[in-house]
Symmetry: C2
DNA sequence: CCGAGGATTGTTAGCGCTCACAATGACCCT
DNA sequence: AGGGTCATTGTGAGCGCTAACAATCCTCGG
């Protein structure tokens, strides 16, 4: 920090000051084995004195690696995508990568495509997408071919590796739990049809009922919001009447709306109607009543996704099209206690 | 896309194919005026045929600009920070910048410092922090001096420009609203003492009561979570008894907990106790009862923050230490209807 | 005490791009 | 017709770094 130069110090400056060649400085920075301790110390010293920081662009230019990963996410204010993004970032950082994110307010093939473009243009080494809407995944196939991509939580897209929580299984747990408690049938408030997760949950619910010899009632559809859950709840009360004793709601926010609708209809939870949600958002425990739900391990999702992507980025393995599936977990709370006989 | 070469095409390849010099290609890309239409077309054509993409590292190396901004955020699963991050990203993108994010699970001077370091090392042009905890802001002063930084929503740090929503004013709106409805006093469940926002809200609440000639009762403190709100609610019921008719809770999540505690204590909202929250999370409208709260315009926060930062990054203006303050808005719902006389 | 062979350090080329400047061409005025 | 001017295009250098190779220095065994 001796001279307040205009230009930040370069590797050559460090070399000069340490009395070595710039290449030796590079070796010290790169942790090469063949550098004498004394030399290393001199270099480290000079680096400290000069306040030197390696220039990442210069390095990236020659190594052809930016050590940055791109993430496209659709609706990060939603619990699932938000948590996934957070986990991805954490995992990437742990591996020495930075993450550039583009969050989309509106997800279409068009916007997704643009986002991917900007990220690639920005020089990312690999791409992750948190894009649960199936309709948009088409954009993924248009990538310059050998570009490393992993989709997180939206596993359908053609030949792209993906990591996802087993939605079908989660729905099965929820529905099975309700059935085991003695309910004759389980109604369902689904998420938007276009969402991979919503489809999986609905399919899991349906399959579970059918396996139990029960004809699944027509599911209602919401948009993940509490409001839509509220409307669905009202609809359900009107449509099912006394038959309504158990509902599996595709996420916790909508379950909150359902709970309110039930309450307003004079129905008690769980005495009259049992409710199970999905996600285990932090608030669920404090709903009235506390909500039984399905928890997803996003940290694990993040770790596995990054590992998978880095295999490709760092050229370790890019054979096949792996699909990693992670198990969800049932969290039982008051909203699903067995009905009074 | 004619030849599936190993190396991606470079500007020189494009130039050769278009029969011009690499500099002309650069001009076309940079939208320079003095390029004949025919030439531009040839170049554009060659670019398309080759599937050429400019190399951002090479460009960054010479321009000394990466067109990437760094954001350090503390707890993005919380509504406020999460929304801020989203808004920042959107605003940056609109200005042609990418955003690299580091989300901290645990915020300390240490972790903040590391995060800033990694971001700078990664080559960002400027830095934004969403770091509401005052205790950590010290790390900001250790930056290599003329590095452009803007803090978002945590305005205390020494000479660093900042953008924030007026928490004091929001709390004043909430408290004043309750007072105007006829309540004799307003209790307060505060956020963590270390948080800038929490302090502002508490101060605003206190000032409003004092201005009305009311001695503020001792506030309770939570950690933003519904659980802590629930505990605070129970405590409040025990401590205040019949005196408890109005509560201003420092965020909506905690307000949810308070609502539950009140309900469990046999107190009706708003008949017995009126409640006002802060944030206007999407769920608030569906709480039982729907929650009166204070809404913050994060989109505006994002726009202003990015504008401020880019002024510095792009060397337009870096005089002074601006503090931009944005007005919040009171959203009245059922939870704060006037008490029955 | 010498040379083999490993350890350590230096030298030389670019990576792909933009900047500053030089060169060329087109056009107009006198 | 000649020279000045602007529009358009080309040339050369170098941003800061790493990779490959060349050069030097040791350390020993014989």
């Amino acid at each position: 920090m001796t001279q307040p130069s205009l230009r930040p110090p370069t590797m050559a400056d460090v070399a000069r000051r340490a009395g070595v060649s710039h290449q030796t400085v590079s070796r010290v920075l790169g942790d090469h084995p063949n550098v004498r301790d004394g030399t290393r110390a001199k270099v480290l010293n000079a680096i400290g004195e000069l306040g030197y920081r390696p220039n990442s662009s210069a390095r990236a230019l020659v190594t052809r690696r930016t050590r940055t990963l791109g993430v496209v996410a659709s609706n990060t204010t939603l619990y699932g995508p938000g948590s996934t993004l957070f986990a991805l970032e954490e995992a990437a950082l742990a591996k020495g990568y930075l993450v550039s994110t583009v969050s989309l307010r509106k997800l279409t093939v068009q916007t997704l495509s643009e986002a991917l473009d900007r990220l690639i243009e920005g020089g990312v080494d690999g791409l992750l997408t948190i894009v649960p809407q199936l309709s948009a995944t088409a954009a993924l196939t248009e990538l310059p071919h050998p570009f490393p991509v992993v989709t997180v939580g939206s596993g359908i897209a053609a030949e792209i590796p993906c990591v996802t929580v087993d939605q079908h299984r989660g729905a099965h747990m929820a529905t099975g739990h309700l059935l085991a408690a003695g309910h004759r049938t389980v109604w369902h408030v689904a998420g938007p049809e276009d969402w991979q997760d919503a489809q999986g949950r609905t399919a899991g619910w349906r399959a579970t009922l059918e396996a139990a010899g029960i004809e699944p009632p027509e599911p209602l559809t919401g948009d993940w919001s509490p409001r839509s859950g509220y409307l669905a709840g009202q609809e359900l009360v009107g449509r099912a009447g006394r038959e309504l004793t158990a509902v599996f709601v595709a996420n916790d926010q909508m379950a909150l709306g359902v709970l309110r609708a039930l309450r307003e209809a004079g129905l008690g939870t769980p005495q009259d109607v049992a409710v199970v949600g999905f996600d285990d958002i932090p608030e669920s425990e404090f709903f009235a009543p506390p909500l039984t739900t399905i928890r997803q391990d996003f940290t694990e999702v993040g770790r596995r996704s990054i590992a998978l992507l880095l295999d490709r980025v760092e050229g370790r393995d890019s054979s096949g099209t792996p699909r990693i599936v992670i198990e969800p977990q049932l969290i039982v709370r008051t909203s699903s206690s067995p009905p009074s006989p």
